[in-house]
Every structure is written in C-alpha cells, then in structure tokens.
C-alpha cells in the first residue's frame, strides 16, 4: 500500500507556555519549542504499521518552510520511507482550504492508495483532511482510532465518537483518514535514528512545480483570515491560593473539608 501522511510542524504545547505577543498579532515565538503535531505522529506510526503488515511505502509531506524539514526527517527516522516538502512564499497565509489545495496538488504528482492526516493541528481546526478528501473525490473518515486492511480495495476503520464509543465503517480505497491519538503507541525516535537519515535528500516542490496559481493559495486565496490573537476578558476565573506551600496546603485542606472533598 502506498501511503501519504500529512505532517505539520507546530509549537509543542506540552513544552511551551503559550502567550499572546504584546502587539496582539501573534503568539510569543521567541523561544518556542517546535515538534511534529501530536496527531500526525500517531498517523505516521499507523502508516508504518500498515506497511509492516501488508507491504508498501510511506511518504511524509509537509507544507511549510525550511524548518519543517526537521520534522520530516524525524518521521523518516521513525520509519517513513520518503519525505516531501511543499514550500513557496506564495503559500504563506493559506487558510485550511489553501493548505488542502497544496496537498491535493502534491497527491496528484504521486500515486497513493491511502492518505492520512492528523485529526487536528494546533489551531484545533480539524479541517484539512476532510477538505483534501472532498477535493480528490475520495471517501473520508475522521477521528479514526482503528484501521484494518480488508484487501487492496477496502479498509475497515473505527471512528471515535462521543463517550468513547466506536463507529465501525467500511471504506473504499483510495481514501483519506484523519487519525485520532491513542490509535497506537508511536515508537521512540533516538538520536541514532535521526542521524541515519540526516543526509537523505528531501525533495522540495513550490507553486509552479505543483501547477498552482498564486491566487488559489496563500493569503490571496484565503476566505478565512486571522485578524488578531488576544487574551479573552475572563469572568471571575480561579481564586489563586498564595503563600508558602504549607500555607497553601492549609487553605486547600480547609476548602476541601468545606466542600465535601475530605471524608
């Protein structure tokens, strides 16, 4: 099975305290730690496991800048066979549809049976996979937490729905799936693995390579635009307990007693 996995380089929320920049037009990017989007890492692991079972090839693709190369390499160290970077100044400011259009053009340059995305990236949009599928006229299933290959024409997939219930579907290939966390346990990537792929050439494609007009992608083609970042004016918010740890614990114990938290 030829599998394409879409991966995005994002600020790692587990490693960073995100704050809005004073100008309000961005978040503070000064010393952010970036990594591959958590959901995409599960998607790559799933692709590798599918190929381990039925054979094939895994390509990871990112729409991004030069720094996205680092996450492509990381996913190749995990076991993805090929990487592809889609990079062009004309892609800057793309909305979800723009990103999906760029990925669609890249899909057209290859031959894939299965395309995986993460369920969502850092903005929680959860949109690129479904858009890409519709543009390709492929069937789509989101929030997938189980993939079983039936034959070279069909998959059986589980979708995670409310309450942790699972919706089982049969889906025809080629298709697009968005992968939910927890579907597998992504393998650990050590320094040695990274070193092994450090000098592998990663091809780069731009708008003209992909046959994309500048007005269909990037800020020019975007119908959805971010105006600003801001910190919402909160209601009351939490009463923060202050003092030494001992004092805080004493206050907390009193509160727990009062609220029925200690029996």
């Amino acid at each position: 099975m030829e599998i394409l996995v879409c991966v995005k380089r994002v600020p790692d929320t587990a490693e960073n305290e995100i704050s809005v920049s004073s100008a309000g037009n961005d978040i503070e990017r000064g010393d952010l730690v970036y990594s591959v989007n958590e959901w995409d890492n599960y998607a790559v692991e799933e692709a590798i496991q599918i190929v381990d079972r039925v054979g094939g090839n895994v390509t990871v693709v990112a729409v991004g800048d030069d720094e996205s190369e680092e996450i492509l390499r990381r996913e190749m160290a995990m076991g993805a066979n090929d990487g592809l970077l889609l990079k062009d100044g004309a892609f800057d400011g793309s909305d979800g549809k723009g990103t999906a259009s760029i990925l669609k053009a890249a899909v057209g340059k290859g031959k894939y049976d299965l395309i995986l995305t993460g369920a969502q990236a850092e903005a929680g949009a959860a949109q690129v996979g479904g858009m890409l599928a519709a543009m390709l006229d492929y069937p789509y299933a989101s929030l997938v937490n189980k993939v079983e290959v039936i034959d070279d024409k069909k998959l059986k997939v589980g979708r995670e729905i409310e309450g942790g219930n699972q919706e089982i579907n049969e889906i025809e290939l080629p298709c697009v799936l968005s992968i939910q966390t927890g579907i597998n346990e992504p393998r650990y990537v050590g320094i040695r693995g990274i070193r092994k792929v450090a000098s592998v050439e990663i091809p780069v494609m731009g708008a003209s390579d992909l046959g994309l007009g500048a007005d269909s992608v990037g800020a020019a083609g975007a119908k959805v635009k971010r105006v600003d970042y801001f910190v919402p004016e909160m209601g009351a918010g939490a009463e923060m307990l202050e003092g030494s740890t001992e004092e805080i614990i004493d206050k907390l114990v009193e509160l727990l007693k009062a609220k029925g938290g200690l029996k």
């Binding site: 519709a134 789509y140 989101s142 995670e160 409310e162 089982i168 740890t245």
Partner: protein
Amino acid sequence: MAQVFAYITHKGGAADDSALELAAAAKKLGADAVTAVVTGTGGELDAVCKDMAASYKEVWKIDNAAMAYPNAEVVRKALVNVLPGDCLLLLPHDTFGIDLGPGLSIKMNSAYVSDVVAIDGLEGATLKVVRQEFGGAASTHMTVDTGAGAVVTLRPGSFAADESKSAGGQVVDKSGDAGDLTAKRKYLETVAAEVGDVDITKSDVLVSVGRGIEDQDNLQIVFDLAEAMKADVSCSRPIVDAKWLEKSRQVGTSGLTVKPKVYMAMGISGAFQHVGGIKGNPFIIAINKNPKAPIFQVADVGIEANILEFIPELTEKIKSL
C-alpha cells in the same frame, strides 16, 4: 442576506442539545428566520422535525433510509443537493460535525470555519467570529468571506440554548431533492466503550491527573492522594493514549461525563474536550505549574505549583489530620 440553516443532530427521536444552541447562535448573525435541516428516516425523524418546529420557523426534512444512521458521507450528498449554494450553514463541532463540515464546504464551494466559540456578527458578507488555538491558551478573531456561502461549526456549550420554543414553525418535506445518496463509506456498527472497574461517573470526589504527571511511575503519588482523600482517580486523554490508565477513567467528550462535588485537576491544561466532561457544577481545584493554563479560567480555586512536589506534601498533610 443569505439564508441561514442549522443542521440538527439527533438520536433515538430526540434532538441533540446543540439544536437549540445553533438557534441562539443564528440570531447573532442577524438572521430573522433560520431554517432547521434534519436528515434521517421514519418516525424518529418525524418526531425530531415536529419538536424543532417549536424552535425554528421552518424545518426542512430529508427522509431517506440511507440516512438511518448519520453517515457524514451520505448526509453530505443530500445537503449539497438540497441546500442553496450560498447559504450559511451552522453545525455543531462534535464528532459528526468534524466528519461532515470540511468536505461539505468544498462541495458547496463555501468558506469553512470550525469550532467557533463566539459570533461577533455579520457585516455585509464578512462574518467575524472568535476561535481558540493551542488548546484554549490563545484566542483569535477571524473574518470569513461568506459571499459564496459558509459552513460554520460551533463549539458545543458555547452558546446558551434558545429555549423560547415559540417559533410555531412548519415542516417542509425536501426528501425528493436529496438525489443519489450512494457513498464509498458504509456504516457497519457501533461498538460501546469498555466499562472499567471504577465507575468515575458515580464518584463524589475525583482526583484527576493529566500530562503534567510526566511519567507513568509518578502516577503512584496520585493514587496515594486519592486513597488519603477516599477519592477516585480520573484523568485526561493523554494518560489513556499512553496506556497508563484505562479508558474508563478518562474525563471528557470522548471519555466519560462526570458530576462530582469536588474535582481536582492536576497537571491538566483545560482543553474544552476535557472540561466538557465535567458537569453538575462541581467545586474545581486546579493545580498547574503554568499560571496561564486555561484550566484556571474554569476552576474555582487555583494553585500554581509543580504537582510532582505538591501532591506528596498534600497527601502527608491529609494523612496527618
């Protein structure tokens, strides 16, 4: 202005809570008449349509056996055929809306904006909305060019439901327009979530732990605290994803809905999918090393601390009482 529609999700003949939230949100678009669109089949569909006529001026019913289960790939085709291309369509940002919305927007050639938490309004064809990024750590204003239509998904619980039920609306049968509903994805069955040994939905006091616990071995301090407090241990999703605790301890939209008296969120950032599982207005205590963590917006009491140090000290204190 373009016509506004709200897609009604339902189950067992009853509309989802989101149905009346969409009605309230639609008012913020300045629409005087909003049309509910309901897909499904048979008596259950009729019951939902009748119910929705109390809240929406018009209810478009699309009855087809192919939509007995709401398979988004099938529903999408029906909606593309039935809805005017330039309409504004509201959907809930739940596991169905996420499945349906993005592809539908492409097929309708509409703009798409998801997980909207507030609507500032519509000026001409420009819609201004509020979203959140980074698990709620930053908010944004977004503009959406709705000139050729738009599909908008709304975060469940963000819009107070319109309970007025005074629309006196009518049901219009649009089933004849649904067209060809064959799809390349077929729904087979629903597998119910596993039941665990502890039922956190019945717990009065929950000691809940998130990714801030950092390592599986550190979970012991959480269980020690829970034992001292005679509380139960629950958790956020990453703990379950890592297979450190069973799924039946996960609080949230894709886990369980809990309604304790006291909820202690420790090392949990406060993503809406987590907080969405905490109901019944408990007393929430959040402990987090990041003073800007969104959990502090919903908690009653907050403590800025490293849980790995704080929890053992708290346990000692409680044991000594």
